[in-house]
Symmetry: C2
Subunit: 367 residues, 2 copies
Amino acid sequence: MKTLQVDLGARSYPIYIGAGLHRDAEVFARHITARQVLVLTNDIVAPLYLESTLTGLGGKRIETVVLPDGESYKTIDSAMQVWDRLLRSKFSRNACLIALGGGVIGDLGGFTAACYQRGIPFIQMPTTLLAQVDSSVGGKTGVNHPLGKNMIGAFYQPLAVLADTETLTTLADRELSSGLAEVIKYGLIRDPEFFCWIEANVERLLHRDAEALAFAIERSCINKAEVVSADEHESGVRATLNLGHTFGHAIETAAGYGTYLHGEAVAIGICMATDLSIRLGWLSREDGVRIEELLRRARLPVRLTSALSPHRILDLMAVDKKNVDGRLRLILLRAIGEATLPMEIAAESVRATLEQCLPPLKGGRSH
Amino acid sequence: MKTLQVDLGARSYPIYIGAGLHRDAEVFARHITARQVLVLTNDIVAPLYLESTLTGLGGKRIETVVLPDGESYKTIDSAMQVWDRLLRSKFSRNACLIALGGGVIGDLGGFTAACYQRGIPFIQMPTTLLAQVDSSVGGKTGVNHPLGKNMIGAFYQPLAVLADTETLTTLADRELSSGLAEVIKYGLIRDPEFFCWIEANVERLLHRDAEALAFAIERSCINKAEVVSADEHESGVRATLNLGHTFGHAIETAAGYGTYLHGEAVAIGICMATDLSIRLGWLSREDGVRIEELLRRARLPVRLTSALSPHRILDLMAVDKKNVDGRLRLILLRAIGEATLPMEIAAESVRATLEQCLPPLKGGRSH
């Protein structure tokens, strides 16, 4: 087991990475002092890992909430279901919530913990590669709104992150690739050596080589922890973690939550950010080719497969959290390993990229 | 205009107290740098103060949300209405929300600001005595749940509090008395000299003597700011501000939100806490008489007027935020001016107080 640390003063916490953590009673006991524990999970993860998790929690008063799987359940209605259960069970402000699942469960679990009685302790137990390398670390929690992804939420840090690499053995191939989009992102924004390592090892990762996966998770979490420790509430450098995400979130919302996995939408968004960076003369075409090539090798989409209107995408991008006074700001690339801070970008340039990267709408005109 | 300060490091902010603040363009300009401003208010306050507030905000891009008045609208559904409007208006993370109204608008406005894009700036403009002396200061925000008051929420501090004493001239008598319950509370928990001052000046307050009201608001806010600065997240002394509130919240929930005004339920709750403190031998009967007498003189109820089951009240008290592992904890009194920290209290003692202070259920047994 490896242990990393997210340094946030009084809100610091460890990230544990290792095989078998989801049933590690010793690690649970180290962090959960409350008697009341609610485990939030979904109907894909529950049959695989819930029972052994509960065994590790022997002696606690346990409630479980099992939601259907998928991004379309990351809603205020799902949060209300969790709050209802906590209140019906008379859970106190010292009760602990465990989020056992992927990014949807982690974001939703964190948000319900943040807002129940103005904040109860919670633990992230990410079971997907994407959640282990990205969403479980750093305290961004929230739910989606029909008009924008992650628009309702809170910064709220967990007590600990338990990334059990064993759970990746049961992950669907598409979910594994989705996680690789965020792994590649760290190389792109701040770790060029890691980008080269991924280029050399992407097949090992796709074949779930345990050693390669453990290294990729650890290196990703080191990058994430450094950025979050430097800028918890995203007033500066943390925004670079959102490379490709402004496009990606708009694509997810426009296509309907669940059509693209988060990492798939981010991969397409990274290609759009790459196209725009080249268009503005900041990134070389050669680097652009390398980026797209690595995403393809990770079995990720690099173009939208369905027709979406550029007008609709631009409209959804107008509520991105990085914008100021309604003016669009994007993270772009100056090189592999070097991202810009959010830049105000003219809508015409973004539109040119969208028209380049979106398949034409059937019947001609895009709006 | 008086200015007090809530000291919370990077989250410190001023409380302004004075006449005419709700249309003070200079004070607005000092705190609102964003172009996008949403004003949340209700249909009682809007006809009186919205137009002049908007005049003071000239040059901004303004959206207004006017909710029906009342505690029964302090819900997740109302929060969703505000988030919808913010998103439809494409408001950014630097947009400012102004909560113009009483405790319901302030708590709801603070919560929607806390969770929109994980937190946007907001300003409290309390227009009731209760909100000016208590709920607008200290960053407790939230909405009610059918099973418990303020159960969904966040600690989230405003940029500034603008308490315009002019708005008290239009306040209903019952609302004025409701605010006095919280004013008296400060005397009871930590300021015996202020308690004596209220005993000597309660009629002036009821007659809305401007000087007396300004003094009561200032002294209350000084007390609140000191307690909040010492313990922002209520790990200790801040809980004493909840004297009478565990009973009060249960009464509000059991009777249906809006049956009793918040301060009325708190007044009855303070009498229950007083009865229990005497019952446990911690407070003299003479002090108990003084407390009840002052609440009566402030035209507040000291007993429930409708029949509620002690069993239901106890059941609702079991989800109070001060409880630990589901065990009931209450704030009690050792003297006028001295509250205890939350104490674990046997249910039998609480039941004895409830049976003393509740009118009998029609038809006999209360179980």
